[in-house]
Subunit: 339 residues, 2 copies
């Protein structure tokens, strides 16, 4: 089985996005948002059958771990109430996709983060999504300010109540920023990758997983710059007097395979312990075109895994077994379905 | 000949750093900084002979392109006047090193940047260092705020007067941030690498080199995350309707080899055109320890180049010829010295 741990609902029906625009405009005007529109099952089917599902079939991906569009989370827009309603609407829409295609999609939730806001609202929405909607994880934004980086590091105690809920529910978080409100940072070309690198370094500097050994994070986009600079990180841990990265971080942190060329994937698979690598593509997502050097989509990451030197067993580890281990509720759902 | 394009004076005599502390304390107290201390030639000799020069000899590095300590530039501290005096003192000290060891070190300057300040002061200091001190380039900080990223992108017109001076003087800039004043970012583990990635994406989004074809930048630390995510960047250029990265950016942008493990260097040399790779180590710098996996210093990057599959001619390109092309004033100085 091939599980893609990183898919966003980037093709959500137009009514959903239009309502968001109205919601933000109403907040800016100090008025109430209009009623959320009716979206039919057919609209939802159409939104995924021509895109995600078609590509999953073409690429042989059985199941996608599916969450709301990351760049649209926009935690820096509005206030905690705006963020909460937008998160609930977005998560409910993902839930409808998973209900229509229970064999193909399983949900991961957006959180109602907001710069400077208490984390309680995110705990409540995480509980609702996991306990009521059958979701198996969440996307946690280390920078709700959208590129101004005003939040404390992920190792700060202020995050701990959320982490305790994650551990209690036995769900991991993908560390995932949203759009950039800072003109210095292009969202998918700089902010995303920087956030991945930043989060890893925060973990390296801390001892979060000593405090919370059951906590697990997926750092997307192949771990940002980390595998390419693996010597730097091993060396910095040593210089900072921290335990080796392998024991202090890598028991609890995993990288996906959203690296869009063969040499990058080859390095990822060579440098990292395979237990730490989960198949992902972020399809349909950041990079949608066809690579003229290969004739295939940049984000068709399965091709790179297939062309790597992994054995069949190793590929199965990356494609399936690691995801089932990191997302125990995914494993339980699959097992219950006889898969 | 082996030229290390990336060395900082991280071992400057204690009096220099102590004066900086006094300068900052005086600025905070609203008083005048004390007189800059006398530093003897012997102190300077001692500061490099036991560290940079010894390691250069051990590693067979003939010449280091030498600049003030990057993490200590601290453009976010003080004001433009404080930054100017600190920059001049730091550049003058580097000049003394290059005067004592003209065959081993050649200067690159720190700029008196300051958040929100006009770029004129940096132009004047660049001119002074190049025209009076024989320096061959500069370190340009894309984020003088120290991790708050309040400056416009490097493609913004406000930078152009500085670029025009660079082109007129025929000197490149290394894009190099300084210390981090943002607790989210560890300086050498996150801020440096993020800045490299961010600068590259800014170049990709713009058309700076169409406007200024004679402008050249070195992006250090192996180009941040860029070579590892080369497919992402090629794909983003396509999605954004920009010309291919190879023509829009890579005629004017170069990466150093400050990547501290073999697989990272191998990827860099495989993915990038060799014309775009300059030997560098950032020694003595960010990562000073010995890699237990190899028994050698993490930052002994020559070993990785030697162990790569490059031919002798290709190594000479990375070790010498590219640096002489990117830094014409380096080439002129070497040629004048019969090297």
């Amino acid at each position: 089985m091939i599980i893609d741990c990183h898919g966003h609902y980037t093709t959500a029906p137009a009514g959903h996005s239009a309502w968001r625009d109205q919601q933000v405009a109403a907040w800016e005007a100090g008025t109430s948002a209009p009623a959320y529109p009716a979206i039919s099952d057919d609209e939802i089917r159409e939104s995924v059958e021509a895109s995600q599902l078609r590509l999953m079939d073409e690429r042989g991906i059985d199941l996608t771990v599916f969450s709301p569009r990351a760049s649209a989370m926009a935690h820096h827009v509005g206030d905690p109430a705006v963020s909460l309603e937008w998160s609930r609407r977005s998560n409910d829409l993902v839930h409808r996709v998973t209900t229509l295609y229970p064999d193909r999609f399983i949900g991961v939730c957006q959180l109602p983060q907001s710069p400077g806001a208490a984390i309680d609202g995110s705990i409540a929405e995480l509980r609702r999504c996991v306990e009521e909607l059958g979701f198996i994880g969440c996307n946690l934004n280390p920078d709700p300010s959208g590129g101004h980086w005003t939040a404390p590091p992920l190792t700060d105690r202020s995050w701990y109540p959320f982490y305790e809920a994650m551990v209690e529910l036995d769900v991991p978080a993908m560390v995932h920023v949203s759009g950039s409100a800072n003109p210095a940072f292009h969202a998918t070309g700089a902010h995303y990758i920087n956030a991945d690198t930043t989060a890893f370094m925060q973990f390296l500097q801390g001892s979060l997983f000593t405090d919370l050994p059951g906590l697990r994070f997926v750092i997307p986009h192949g771990g940002g710059a980390v595998p390419y600079h693996w010597g730097r990180y091993r060396g910095l841990a040593d210089m900072l007097g921290k335990p080796p990265v392998q024991t202090n971080v890598m028991g609890n942190v995993f990288f996906d395979t959203c690296v869009y060329h063969q040499p990058g994937i080859d390095l990822l698979l060579e440098v990292m312990d395979l237990d730490n690598v989960l198949f992902g593509s972020e399809m349909v997502g950041a990079v949608r075109g066809i690579d003229p050097q290969t004739g295939h989509h940049f984000d068709d990451t399965r091709r790179y895994i297939e062309a790597s030197g992994l054995t069949e067993d190793q590929r199965a580890q990356v494609y399936e077994h690691n995801a089932r281990r990191v997302y125990p509720r995914l494993d339980a759902a699959l097992t219950a379905a006889g898969r």
